[in-house]
Amino acid sequence: MGEITYLEAIREALFEEMERDPNVFMIGEDIGAYGGAFKVTEGLLAKYGESRVIDSPISEIGIVGAAAGAAHMGMRPVVEMQFIDFIANAYDMLTNYVATARYRAFLPTPMVVRGPSGGYVRGGPFHSQNPEAGFIHTPGLKVVYPSTAEDAKGLMKSAIRDDDCVLFFEHKYLYRRIKAEMPAGDVTVPIGKARVAREGRDLSIITYAATVYKALEAAEQLEREDRLSVEVIDLRSLAPLDDDAIVATVKKTNRVLVVHEDTRTGGIAGEITARINETCFSWLDAPVLRVTAHDVPLPYAPSLEDFVLPQTADIVLAARRLAAY
């Protein structure tokens, strides 16, 4: 079995879950005949037909709401947002309806909303967003955002099998750049568990999605040039957060840098920092630092996008400050 891309890993999970459970079905714009804007769902229509792979009108409110209704009836819908930026249209449905359904009405809503997310691709303000923070803030929704092909597949399987709504963010920069060989058999990755992407002793970088690779690059450079041993934690799940993994790395290295591609204000780095302060402040040898995107809409021009988004050099600079504190 050869290596497959992050994108193919997601597709493989969709095929396997549709095969395993007849209640699983797909709904989204251009996902059938065209196979999706990024071809994630390519081939599903041919195998499972129009009744389980539904090309929808341009109606994010409609398809997310319909998925919720089907989920109440025992189906397990997987909804594609053509770009995750358009999840904003379904914000009301997700936050007011779906997220509260179990709590207020005891209605199970096992559904997945997935879509291509993130920048570094010159997509401009409406094809580059990382809107996870608004949903992490909403009790009742789970949020995952994998960085590796194995996790993309394993988390997708877990998301589809989860009895609550899971928002599954896929990083479009990673779609075809990241490859791995898949483990044999039906392997799931648990929601709510972080992963140690690199072991280290001197300081920790907590991150997820595309910036995992920037953190790993920075870690290599810091080892080479500064003889620093950097640990990199890939959160994988943003809601629920893996508090145990965060506390463990704080206690191990005593210095923490949180990195994300999302904008700074209200981003998850603030939440992680607060939790560290509450639970293991006395283990810190330095204040927790953040490297994030600037608080501006994401611009189109390469020079502008590169400035707004966090880069490897920023992580190196921040890590050096942390190490020297």
């Binding site: 714009e29 005949a33 409110i61 409609g62 401009g124 611009p299 021009a301």
Partner: protein
């Protein structure tokens, strides 16, 4: 001349019980002078040739993002926008380069915008034809579809509140008619009797989705009945028919008779964007439209019947080519944005964000001391641009 079957719907009203204004309306003066008729040809040719130039630049990787074509839809864009006058405001969609040119967008702006140049209308912030200028009368779209319908309801509500003699126009595709924003926006405009013309460009596909999977309505103009407003359907590949139908709706709006829907039937001959190979289109369909129903070919034949000479047409073609060449040189020579410009203009006050701590020592954006109000679209006069 050869016409497609769809053009038979031209001029058909969504009359019936629910469409009050379609009967007994005053006849507008919709005659066009010979000069205006040649003008229409110029805008259509400019639209097509400018997009062809963009294809070349795209292949040279000078276009940073995706490229969106309106090949075969030039008549609906140009003919509808031509029904407006100065002071009116339209909001185009992704196939409405022609509408924007008519309203005063220049080729050099379009080229710089696609090439993400520092002095592009959005200074490198936005892509393709996502830009506007309220002075010249167009407001830029965003990617989520249908969103501009309620926005244009508000623009035209303002015209009405201020007692101004101005009209608004908003374009949506067949796809956007499925959105909540379209429905809420048009219903609000209708109830408020906003002077708004909603153009539905029915071009057969939304990305890969055929209109038959978008709606079971036999024709999109039928939606007008549900909103209690007049609707008219016209052949969008006939620039004169498009102009006339739109002009009737514009005149109604200007007389204070509220919102209308105009459905323009056309066909999208290229993919959603340049990367799209159109594998989902039935064999022969694109070729048939190209052969039988090209809006420019059709219009040229009409102009010839009206006595326009080849020499006059050639002169326009040469002018278009010259203007595009000059615009390309200017756009090509333009620089890329300064990184720190990214921080300017999120709010009116403060005018710029500070670089985050890990970018300390790079304060140029703060030092230019420009305020956000000055960062809208601006027009760089360019030789040879209208």
């Amino acid at each position: 001349m050869a016409r497609s079957v769809t053009s038979r719907g031209a001029g058909r009203r969504a009359s019936g019980a629910g469409a009050p204004a379609s009967a007994a309306e005053p006849v507008s003066d919709i005659s066009l002078t010979r000069e205006q008729r040649l003008d229409l040809y110029y805008w259509m040719r400019l639209t097509r040739s400018l997009e062809e130039r963009l294809v070349n630049l795209y292949r040279q990787t000078k276009v940073v993002g995706g490229l969106f074509r309106s090949l075969g839809q030039e008549a609906d864009a140009v003919g509808s926008a031509y029904a407006l006058r100065q002071g009116d405001i339209l909001s185009p969609l992704i196939r409405n380069l022609g509408s924007m040119l008519v309203k005063g967008a220049t080729p050099v702006e379009i080229l710089k915008q696609y090439m993400a140049k520092a002095d592009s209308p959005t200074r490198g912030r936005e892509l393709n034809i996502h830009f506007g200028d309220t002075e010249r009368g167009f407001i830029g779209q965003i990617s989520p579809l249908g969103d501009m319908v309620p926005v244009m309801a508000g623009v035209t509500l303002t015209f009405r509140m201020r007692g101004e003699d101005r009209v608004g126009m908003v374009y949506v595709g067949d796809g956007a008619t499925s959105t909540g924003a379209f429905h809420e926006g048009i219903n609000f405009a209708a109830v408020q009797r906003c002077p708004l013309v909603v153009i539905i460009e029915s071009n057969g596909y939304a990305y890969s989705t055929p209109t038959s999977k978008q709606t079971l309505a036999k024709q999109l103009v039928d939606k007008a009945l549900g909103y209690g407003i007049p609707g008219e359907r016209a052949d969008g590949n006939d620039v004169i028919a498009t102009y006339e139908a739109t002009k009737r709706a514009v005149d109604r709006a200007r007389r204070g008779e509220g919102t209308s829907i105009i459905e323009l039937v056309t066909y999208r001959r290229k993919g959603h964007a340049e990367h799209d190979n159109q594998s989902y289109v039935p064999a022969g369909e694109i070729e048939r439209w190209e052969r039988e129903n090209d809006p420019i070919t059709r219009y040229l034949s009409r102009l010839a019947d009206e006595g326009v000479s080849d020499t006059e047409i050639t002169a326009i073609d040469e002018r278009v080519q010259r203007e595009i060449d000059e615009a390309t040189d200017i756009a090509d020579a333009s620089g890329v944005p300064e990184p720190l410009d990214a921080l300017v203009g999120v709010y009116a006050e403060p005018p710029t964000a500070e670089p985050l701590w890990f970018r300390e020592g790079r304060r140029a954006a703060v030092d230019v001391n420009e305020r956000a109000a000055g960062w809208g679209t601006f027009d760089v006069p360019a030789k040879g641009d209208e």
